[in-house]
Symmetry: C2
Subunit: 307 residues, 2 copies
């Protein structure tokens, strides 16, 4: 792994303090947010440059964890007020949840500003924020990155559809869940939804399916699918999709190789990092992972799927 | 493939005439039933000996189709009255359905009788019927088959729990869906459910996940998972699980090789046959498949999952 050149990787997204309730446990002050999960998941693979905003209540220990993982925080804005806070409760099966409270706080007026050292990065991930802000970030790049990844959610599909289409036309990879893909295209069949989405811009569509794994529709009709690793100890699913994106983009940035074959490996890396994420609250299980740790778990996917 | 010795394979289960309504189409008089789907799916791989019951209304064309596929019907009982009939409507996403009508008819007093030529078979599949009948079939075998597979459903878990446990103690492979596995063990986690089920008897548990594929927990902690083939033309999901079982058992009977590695291949064969099943009403797409056809589709699973 060490012989390869690592490209710079920027992530723009939420930084949050969550209050997570599961059927068997609960954590208040659980540090989360898409940009945090993404960064902690990509960190064992490559360096990450984070863009986000926090309030005065954001734990110093989380700053220290991000720094220890090698995450560049020069794009992390400190603002007056409280950090974005989300409170949610997972159902018995851990697959669905209810949002109990959302307080945008300093995230409400977030306007991402990329430090000069971020603007020439070759890999950019636009986590789930307003499409207009995602466009704004694209404009700030000194040149078109080699690969731009995007996440979004049902809210933006509903209330910012046109802006979302503008962003979609300018990205390479869209990584969303199955329901979002169907909603975005008003389809009931995923294969048809994938075709429509790829016509909107992104040449590669990655469908995140939670406990069922991931599915990828790429150029030339290429389709790849992987199951998720069956886990006995699912503690907290929060951030799994963002961790998936971190592993996915982290592998592509580390190898610098954008081919169909390497995108398949990137999906396994995404699945690998997501599998760690759900085994603890916050980024507990992602912290301190070595290259050897993650390579061993990657191998579990080989063992799981070989026939 | 032709160099291998094929063992005999018996299936016991329902033979039905369904009335299937999907969001875009409908078929009355759609021949179905677990034993029919199983047999038509196994037929391209190996010979099948069917045990079931029909009424006077069962279409002669379906008898001809089963015979043309090489299915041994000497265990198919002709009874006075009407064939088992089921009417159901699929929801928009094709994953869930409502039962509109169920008429057991001649199936209500079905008492499976194995012809002499079936009793020494090495492979036996007990499709979803009352556990007491499944036990009865086991008793009729001249000797313990090399491999016994079992399906069941939520109804028997509810109302015939003790009898079901008796059957479970005597089978090698249980093939059920995820919800049934959780219900059977009163668990919310599939890995824990699998451990409990394997303690009840079956050394191998196959979880059928519909559009998400299949998962297998085998001896020695071996875990295997495969996604399903993404399909654009899902016409009618009825019988997909039974077709899976037919492909799975058909491969094992054809090769005669019961190893962890070959069970993985059998799961891909099951997935292959299920993918055909859902592309048409009844067994339309399973009829007339050649070895070359199915081998090509098996290869699609290799292409889908390789990384």
């Amino acid at each position: 792994m060490s012989t390869q050149t690592t490209s710079k990787l920027v992530v723009v997204g939420s930084v949050a303090v969550d209050w997570v309730i599961t059927p068997t446990a609960e954590r208040q002050e659980s540090v989360g947010g898409a940009a945090v999960f993404f960064s902690m998941a990509a960190a064992p693979l490559t360096g990450v440059q984070l863009v986000g905003v926090i309030g005065h209540d954001f734990p110093g220990s989380a700053i220290a964890d991000l720094e220890a993982a090698g995450v560049d925080l020069s794009g992390l804005e400190r603002s007056d007020g409280l950090t974005f806070r989300w409170k949610g409760r997972y159902h018995e099966n851990m697959n669905s949840r209810d949002t109990l409270e959302t307080h945008l706080n300093v995230f409400e007026n977030f306007s991402p500003k990329l430090p000069a050292g971020y603007r020439d990065s070759d890999f950019l991930f636009l986590a789930n924020i307003q499409p207009s802000l995602q466009l704004d970030v694209l404009e700030q790049m000194a040149r078109r990155p080699r690969l731009v990844g995007l996440d979004t959610m049902n809210l933006w599909i509903d209330i910012a559809h046109d802006k979302l289409l503008e962003v979609l036309a300018r990205v390479d990879v869209l990584a969303i869940n199955q329901e979002e893909a169907l909603q975005l295209t008003a389809e009931t069949n995923l294969v048809r939804a994938a075709r429509k989405i790829r016509e909107l811009g992104p040449k590669t569509l990655v469908i995140k399916r939670g406990e069922y794994g991931a599915l990828c529709f790429g150029p030339g009709g290429d389709v790849f699918a992987t199951p998720a690793l069956p886990l006995e100890d699912v503690v907290d699913p929060t951030g799994a999709g963002d961790s998936f994106a971190g592993g996915f983009m982290g592998h592509l940035a580390r190898t610098g190789e954008i081919t169909g074959e390497n995108v398949r490996k990137a999906i396994i890396w995404g699945s690998t990092m997501a599998s760690y994420c759900v085994q603890g609250f916050s980024y507990d299980r992602l912290r301190g992972l070595s290259r050897e740790d993650v390579a061993r778990r990657y191998q579990q996917f080989v063992d799981l799927t070989s026939f």
